[in-house]
């Protein structure tokens, strides 16, 4: 479960995130949308401990990210916007590295890695150095590394970048299954069709402020009042 309480982030005089409060319950798929530079990635980086908030709190499974970062991060599977990997490690080594950071037992880690290699169809690339990977392959490895420890909270920034349709389909199915298993998924994306397909609730951020937050049913009603297209709703709200 994820709870953002009056979250604010300032960079000097620029307020990147302005008093944002969001709650994502267990088993819920939350879509986080906004124009470029709205504050989506900044919000996510605060949730994952990469940024410190200026004010406000973030609770991951009841743990304050700033006060109890280790406990909070133990529950998080994070996929960043750019899938940077350690270039000198192979994909398999990176996965072992990731699992080790979450203190996973070697035997279960080995099994889990083999499962994920099959699941994401990584194939023989797994034993090549990641410096030779395409962006899509890097993305698959990063997503696999985020799911290794069976996290209860999945935070993803632009998950479909670089993925072919087959891989994108697998990712979508996997994430949806995770919510059925009780995990909370917080996904930032520009892809409106993906949001419509997967999300239970949507939040739209603009200039650091949350300007819209509601269920997909409410969003459907909003769509019908305009022209039935999510794109029109988005453009109307963020103009």
């Amino acid at each position: 479960m994820i709870r953002l309480v009056h979250l604010t982030k300032k960079f000097g005089s620029l307020t990147a995130v302005d008093d944002v409060s969001i709650e994502v319950k267990p088993g819920e798929f939350y879509g986080f949308l906004g124009p470029n530079g709205a504050g989506k990635t900044t919000t996510i980086k605060m949730m994952t401990g990469l940024f410190a908030s200026t004010s406000g709190s973030i609770f991951i499974n009841g743990f304050d990210v700033q006060k109890y970062p280790l406990e909070a991060k133990l529950s998080i599977g994070y996929v960043p916007d750019y899938p940077f990997l350690y270039e000198k490690l192979t994909g398999r080594e990176f996965l072992f590295f990731s699992g080790g950071l979450y203190k996973m037992n070697k035997d279960s880690l080995r099994r889990r890695i083999d499962e994920l290699i099959d699941h994401f169809a990584i194939g023989s690339w797994i034993d090549k150095r990641t410096e030779d990977y395409s962006q899509g392959m890097c993305q698959r490895i990063v997503i696999a590394s985020a799911l290794l420890h069976d996290p209860k909270v999945i935070i993803i920034d632009e998950p479909m970048v670089g993925l072919d349709p087959h891989s994108a389909h697998i990712i979508k199915q996997t994430l949806k299954q995770k919510t059925h298993d009780g995990a909370s998924v917080f996904m930032s994306t520009h892809s409106l069709p993906v949001v419509e397909e997967l999300c239970d609730r949507v939040g739209i951020i603009k200039d650091g402020r949350l300007i819209f937050e509601d269920t997909m049913d409410a969003l459907e009603a909003f769509k019908r009042r305009i022209d039935g297209k999510f794109e029109s709703v988005f453009l109307e709200l963020t103009k």
């Binding site: 000097g12 980086k45 994952t48 401990g49 990469l50 940024f51 410190a52 970062p69 280790l70 406990e71 909070a72 991060k73 133990l74 998080i76 994070y78 960043p80 750019y82 940077f84 990997l85 350690y86 270039e87 000198k88 490690l89 192979t90 398999r92 080594e93 072992f96 590295f97 990731s98 699992g99 080790g100 950071l101 979450y102 203190k103 996973m104 070697k106 080995r110 023989s124 034993d127 090549k128 150095r129 410096e131 030779d132 590394s145």
Partner: protein, 561 residues
């Protein structure tokens, strides 16, 4: 030309925007850097001037020997710049993302090469320029040269000398890339390494500095004559010899003798630069493609085996184990790391080998003190160099992938602590080996040997601390080439602070060591209390430096990523 200037203009603009920042923290950093650079410049000036005065007025080695020593230093300097440029140029010319971008733009390959060559040369040479300028000022002021000397010596001697080393390096690199395409990268690297080892060995074997000194000293005290006939024939074809000869004849106020060497040096520099550009016109793009091909052809690396395999269990905790193994593979799979380490190890081995052949005669306590401190300080200098080169980049080379660790449930103290411990352990071993082997010829009494071993341990702590702290504070995650990181402004500042620490060492150790040698010489009761006090002082200050640096590291690591 317009194209080159256009691209260079934007590179300079972006450099200025990145480095000139009016925020308080950055202003403090910049002012601090300025003060340290200024202090170091002044120190280099006085050190050079003082050393020349000492060698000529106290030891009376004469101008000829002085300039032969300068020639030897310049040879090592030339090779360092040459090897360094080959290694850095490989990244700049063949792995840089900027090259990939510019290749997709309508920029000629030759112009692209020129831009990247200049980028590489100036990026990695700023500190060397400063050191060279200050040393030149110290040298010139001793001989009371006019201001014109400094201008032409810098513009027509020092810079062309470095440019020659860099141009030759880049030509060699393109040739090596061509060959590597046929015979494989590994054989080329081994061949190159062997060639450098042989060239250093051959230079010192055939120049035989000790023999030269002995031959010249036969004419003592009439040493201010020209002994050029004693030079081995091949040395006259080396750029370091020409540069030293220019300085020598200028000092003798004989410009007529200096000019031919200057012309040869300038001519060869111009030829090398033009040659590099002409070669790049034919070879740069094909070798760039070959570098892609080499990477693609590299056989699928099976998971690193042995005890460092990620899949194998170990006695370490899960997090410690994977962090340690990651560091191991990151280092030993990066040729720029292990090759450079091998080169430094070789240079240290040569130094130690030379030291072990020394025979010291205990005549003068002051000379004994100086001998002891010079060797000790040189060891400390080597430790500082290793620390800046390999420890300073430790945080930066995490690169953008650091998100994985930063978002993982692992304490930053554990991450920093492990990196620090690994760095210190390796440097400690190197430091102790250096100390043990280089101190043997001095025939030190156990108290002195023990104190130098202890001080060396403290020095490694301080140097590793400074480099780790500096590397964390000035971390640049978008630049994960360790050599470029170790050549950055932050690294230079850290190195200068390390050198300040060396000055502190001299100030603390000189008097007690001198008193000790005097007490041995006069047969009085041994003055050991000062030695012990010196060790305690060095140890205390080193721990403080390491502690403060560690705190700085943690604070820096907690910054927004």
């Amino acid at each position: 030309m317009t194209e080159i200037l256009h691209i260079l203009r934007y590179k300079i603009l972006s450099f200025i925007k990145v480095n000139i920042d009016w925020h308080f923290e950055s202003a403090v950093k910049n002012v601090g850097s300025f003060l340290v650079y200024t202090g170091f410049s002044i120190g280099t000036f006085f050190f050079t001037r003082g050393l020349i005065a000492f060698l000529l007025e106290e030891v009376h080695i004469g101008q000829f020997l002085l300039h032969r020593f300068i020639s030897m230093l310049l040879y090592v300097f030339f090779l360092s710049v040459n090897v360094g440029n080959i290694i850095v140029s490989y990244s700049t010319l063949y792995k840089s993302k900027e090259v990939v971008y510019l290749l997709t733009a309508p920029v000629s390959h030759t112009n692209l090469f020129v831009i990247k060559f200049l980028d590489n040369f100036f990026y990695s040479s700023t500190t060397l320029f400063l050191i060279g300028l200050c040393a030149l000022l110290g040298y010139g002021s001793y001989f009371q040269h006019s201001w014109t000397f400094y201008v032409w010596a810098m513009m027509l001697l020092f810079i062309p000398f470095m440019l020659l080393a860099a141009a030759v390096g880049v030509i060699m690199l393109m040739g090596l890339m061509k060959i590597a395409g046929r015979i494989g990268a590994r054989k080329v690297i081994i061949g190159l390494g062997s060639a450098y080892v042989l060239s250093i060995y051959a230079f010192f074997r055939f120049t035989n500095p000790m023999k030269l000194v002995n031959e010249v000293m036969k004419y003592y005290p009439n040493l201010n004559q020209y002994f050029g006939y004693l030079d081995p024939p091949f040395s006259r074809f080396l750029p370091n010899h020409w540069a030293a000869e220019v300085l020598y004849w200028t000092g003798m106020h004989n410009g007529t003798m200096a000019l031919p060497y200057l012309y040869v040096l300038l001519g060869l520099c111009a030829l090398s630069c033009v040659g590099a550009v002409l070669l790049a016109r034919r070879w740069y793009y094909p070798t760039w493609l070959a570098s892609l091909d080499l990477r693609a052809r590299r056989a699928a690396t099976s998971e690193g085996g042995g005890i460092f395999s990620m899949a194998k269990n170990s006695m370490l905790g899960h997090q410690t184990e994977v962090l340690f193994k990651k560091e191991f593979w990151q280092f030993f799979r990066d040729p720029s790391q292990y090759i450079h380490l091998s080169v430094m190890a070789l240079l240290m081995a040569i130094f130690v080998g030379s030291m072990m052949q020394l025979r010291t005669i205990q005549v003068n306590p002051l000379l004994q003190t100086i001998s002891y401190l010079v060797i000790f300080l040189f060891n400390a200098f080597l430790i500082a160099s290793i620390s800046v080169r390999f420890v300073y980049p430790l945080i930066s080379i995490e690169g953008e992938s650091f998100w994985k660790i930063r978002s993982a449930p692992i304490s930053l103290h554990k991450v920093a602590g492990l990196k620090f411990a690994l760095a210190w352990s390796a440097t400690f071993v190197i430091g102790q080996l250096l100390n043990a082997l280089s101190s043997r010829p001095l025939g030190l009494a156990s108290i002195l040997w023990l104190s130098s071993a202890s001080n060396t341990a403290f020095i490694t702590l301080a140097m590793v601390g400074l480099s780790f702290g500096g590397g964390s504070f000035f971390a640049t995650y978008h630049e994960n080439n360790p050599i470029r990181v170790a050549s950055s402004q932050g690294a230079s500042l850290t190195f200068l602070l390390s050198l300040l620490y060396l000055v502190f060492l001299v100030s603390v150790l000189f008097i007690p060591v001198n008193r000790y040698f005097e007490s041995v010489f006069t047969g009085a009761s041994l003055a050991t209390s000062g030695i012990v006090t010196g060790v305690v002082t060095v140890g205390s200050v080193s721990f403080i430096i390491a502690g403060l640096s560690y705190v700085l590291s943690i604070r820096s690591l907690k910054r927004d990523f």
